[in-house]
Symmetry: C2
Subunit: 339 residues, 2 copies
DNA sequence: GATCGCTTCCAAAGCGCTTTGAAGCTATCA
DNA sequence: TGATAGCTTCAAAGCGCTTTGGAAGCGATC
């Protein structure tokens, strides 16, 4: 069933049918109804390749999958993609996934070639990201999820990681904590580096020198959370509070706390960053977990929207969004225990 | 730079240039060289939409991303996709990723509509998978990674999970172990159910009744591995051997073993299933880990190949591959300790 | 009755590629 | 010399959609 068939059946021209289906105004409401109804009845689906050829758009957005970098980003990235795909599907845009082989840039080159995708999403940028220059030179539109230093103007959306961890640290300080440990991701990534900054800034503002002994980094997994927390808790005096970069890590840290015989929220406080996974609800933990909260899925959805705007002509350099991050206090934080 | 431009520059017709580029025989070697050279010089890239429209192929294969089911599949799935993408890229085929919203079947419907993809890959089927019937009715070609019960003939590739765990269990029995615990994935999934079968069969063959107390299931994460192992190790008498469904779980189990003050390979044995992650090498663990090994990435690559064959006319019902699984004995297995 | 302005619809020209059917050319053979 | 065959190349017809540039129909206006 193609457009022509449908038009023939309706006794209309292809033009009219096409316009009716695509919501153009120069078609009477009566006709539009008739067309939409017929399309439904005959299960008409426009051929995407034909449409893409005619419109000159690929109807797809590219994303690169780092399978070997580590497993760390996976749940986060999957959640991000879910948000992205959700929104893109509304506009009938596909996500083309390109798993990286050896050379990541080759993936971008391939996606750019033959207008395979209309734009590319870059995630988890390092502090200095050479992909920005590369894509700019390729002339391929892109949006960065996160930020990076680059003289090249480009579109980005990020959450205020620095502010979030600054806020969280300050809150703990207000509760009387002074020995606050940080379990962070690798600070080569901007988001981790920003969190590190926020943490240090809050301490410095209170005249506390950040102590490297109480800063650990690693993949955002349960296991790393466990190990780092275990190490911290073996120190004497030990920290009275933990700030953790992901809920995965927090789960591990939580285990370490329990196995050290401590009670979370009383003997030790914890604030974790919550990307809002559907399967990991801080309200359902025992005790409930205080968090800095920002839905990574929502970010994906918004980036999809921005990408669509960009394809419709909005200049990339006008797209800069920095999202504030909520601090949600629950039961895992309490006053510092009396020394 | 489009085909016509290139043809004009060369003083050839579009036909000849197209044939030269696509390796058709009715073009002299001299001309082909000239064309290929020019294409390279002018960075000619055929427009994929145009090609797709002309050939009637979508040039893409669909995969559905389950972000909310759990995080369990992620590293495994990412690795699988990497293998898939590797091979598909050689034939200029994209992976179209469709993150599931509420209704998974809707994803398949969308991908099928408007010939958005040429085929779909189904992963981690449950024992009875209604997606098979659904896709068959939709007339959409698909390949199953794994197996499921269905009267509908369809293409699948699976590893011999039952054989693998049968073999592993038998090996432990041969070493004198009789209390062998199993840490498995959810047995609603065929692969987990098959592993369960293999394990039970080996025990039964030696006259040992499988004890539900020593069978645990859950997501294939470090954390679950830790918890299950911890529970097993607190039993008295405790198991002398563990069989584990993934390396992630094995990491957690390993921690539990250590924190119970036991030495892996001497006090207790362990065999884990190894999907061959680049970042997780059983040879580099201490002690090295005995495994049932089957590269999930290789499976992805092979499925890509089969998909391509299927698109070239190979009947789906002729595509059934069951891969044997290696048992690799390393240092984590030893004779059962004297009671 | 002619003109204008709207609304509603259409024929036809692409989009950039593949592929069919045919033709030009050279070499070979009777 | 003409016919046959084999090798190269080409013109043109799609693939199924969008979109341009009109045109038809119709009531209102002059």
């Amino acid at each position: 069933m193609k457009l022509k068939d449908l038009a023939d059946k309706l006794g209309l021209s292809q033009t009219t049918v096409s316009r009716a289906l695509n919501g153009y105004p120069e078609v009477s409401e009566a006709t539009r109804e008739r067309v939409l109804d017929a399309a439904r009845r005959f299960h008409y689906r426009p051929n995407v390749s034909a449409r893409r050829l005619a419109t000159g758009r690929a109807g797809a957005i590219g994303a690169v999958l780092h399978s070997n970098r580590s497993l760390l980003l996976d749940p986060h990235y999957a959640e991000f993609l879910a948000g992205l795909g959700d929104r893109l599907a509304d506009d009938d845009i596909d996500i083309v996934l390109s798993p990286v082989r050896s050379d990541e840039l080759a993936n971008y080159r391939r996606m750019a070639s033959g207008s395979r995708v209309d734009a590319i999403i870059l995630s988890s940028p390092p502090v200095e990201d050479d992909r920005v220059r590369f894509l700019a030179e390729l002339g391929m539109p892109f949006i960065l999820h996160g930020r990076t230093v680059s003289r090249i103007p480009h579109a980005w959306l990020d959450i205020d990681n620095e502010g979030a961890f600054h806020h969280a640290t300050k809150h703990l300080l207000d509760l009387g904590h002074t020995r606050i440990a940080l379990i962070n991701a690798d600070t080569r990534f901007t988001y981790a580096s920003d969190r590190d900054k926020g943490y240090r800034k809050a301490l410095s503002e209170r005249g506390i020198a950040p102590d490297p002994k109480w800063i650990a980094t690693g993949w955002m997994t349960d296991e790393v959370g466990f190990r780092c927390a275990e190490r911290f808790l073996s120190e004497r005096p030990r920290p009275t509070a933990l700030i953790v970069s992901s809920m995965m890590m927090a789960l591990g840290a939580f285990r370490a706390i329990r196995s050290a015989g401590l009670e979370l929220g009383r003997d030790i406080s914890m604030i974790a960053h919550d990307d809002v996974f559907p399967f990991l609800n801080p309200d359902r933990m025992v005790p409930t977990m205080s968090t800095t909260r920002s839905s990574i899925r929502a970010a994906g959805t918004r980036i999809a929207e921005l990408a669509i705007e960009m394809l419709n002509g909005r200049p990339a350099e006008s797209i800069h969004e920095l999202w504030p991050v909520d601090l949600v206090i629950r039961a895992s934080t309490g006053p510092a225990p009396a020394a």
